[in-house]
Symmetry: C2
Subunit: 263 residues, 2 copies
């Protein structure tokens, strides 16, 4: 898809409504990337209008008395399937739905491989969040900084290499079966690709020095090769240059210089 | 299913092999409970023999060179579907598979509701683990105790009520549609029931004073009513009394008295 097509596409009648905290990629980004890869038009409600946030808060705050026809939702991201009663939450669950309905996952046993890889990437994303919030999400980073510094050392030294080593293996595993493929499962893009890509991009934003070091060591060359290759695809290039891609902010992936180097 | 049936069942030809760290319920328990609810025979390899652990370590340690036909696995639990090439990891993914293949989830849009509820319960389970390991999983609890005490205060005061309030809502939501049902989605047991049940049981083990207090306040009566009701079902009673149910140990749900009360 060219950039012009990508811009046009966003103006078509939306098929889905994404509800997430405005002004940051966050967990909403896993959903956005899947929708973008599928080339399906969607409404990003809280970012498209200032009043959008009230739709989100309304859904989170209600109970079975105020909304007897829709299941309770604990937290965003939320995907509303327009022209249907479906209101889906929990990031891996939204991705599962999009895999099934937007051709972003195989229909055979490999669908569980896609889910497995995406779940593992989301786990690393959650740990990257816990680095700056090890004690509690109701507190500011500044109120848990000594704990963050301890966690960051473990995260950079053990966790990033463990997960990146795993992602590197899955690139090699698929390539051993499909030598021409630059995707993680089979020969087509899936939400495993978009999710692992976003986590590697987010961790690279938060810990640029650590990632630069890993790239130089060439230990995870298959992974970085896959990552750079996907980034070069027209649909992703077009999206990353569009206004729909929000800059990293105070979300999951945050860059604090002191967390990226030994103190 | 009676207790005698339950004992007999475990001796039938296994259909699945569960691979998890031995000697504790841990994340393996979410899989065990789903298999028990489905009444399907399985092999719990690491708990059934001392040599079982080497099967698990072999799978985690290998790469695409040593096992070109099986996808890489980061961590247990792992479910091997016997008489098939499938090797599935990531707890929610294993549950998804069992939902699809062992009649533990609906086949319509409500399957996403089951996954959503199970994922949310697993999130609370992970947070309960992070209470005693806020800084790093490579460290002992004793080496991160001050941080644990801070996290525990937030967990007891904000996180348990938030999640339990949500689970209470989902019990009420399903009951508003199916007044006679004591399940979370529709009128049949699903892996949402087994997973939320295990998390409520685990949190009750780790924070008994906090849960006693919540039970007395009667704020989450629907949830505790559902929990106690499920515990009274024959299959679960039989399982809980069997040797297959392992006592809580140094896994996700740990009871440290100092984390259960204000210091």
């Amino acid at each position: 898809m060219t950039d012009t097509q990508s811009t046009k596409r966003a103006k078509l009648e939306p098929k889905y409504e994404l509800l997430y905290w405005p002004g940051m990629p966050g967990r909403g980004e896993y959903v956005r990337l899947a929708l973008e890869a599928a080339g399906v038009p969607y409404k990003d409600t809280t970012n498209e209008s200032k009043e959008g946030i009230s739709s989100l808060l309304g859904i989170i705050g209600r109970d079975s008395v105020t909304a007897p026809d829709e299941p309770p939702v604990l937290a965003p991201p939320i995907l509303r399937v327009l022209d249907s009663p479906l209101l889906i939450s929990q990031t891996p669950n939204i991705l599962l739905y999009l895999g099934d309905h937007e051709n972003l996952a195989p229909t055979d046993g490999d669908k569980y491989l896609v889910h497995q890889y995406a779940l593992t990437a989301l786990d690393l994303g959650s740990e990257a969040h816990n680095v700056h919030h090890p004690i509690g999400i109701s507190l500011f980073y500044e109120d848990q900084k000594p704990e963050s510094l301890r966690f960051a050392k473990e995260f950079r030294g053990l966790r990033i290499p463990k997960f990146f080593g795993y992602f590197d293996k899955i690139v090699k595993y698929n390539r051993s079966k499909y030598p021409e493929s630059n995707y993680l499962v089979g020969e087509k893009i899936s939400y495993a690709d978009t999710t692992v890509w976003q986590v590697v991009d987010g961790v690279s934003h938060a810990f640029p020095k650590k990632i630069e070091e890993l790239r130089k060591e060439k230990e995870f060359e298959a992974l970085f090769g896959w990552f750079d290759g996907l980034k070069g695809e027209e649909w992703l290039k077009g999206y990353l240059e569009s206004k729909r891609r929000l800059p990293y902010a105070l979300g999951i992936f945050r860059h604090y210089e002191e967390l990226d180097v030994d103190q």
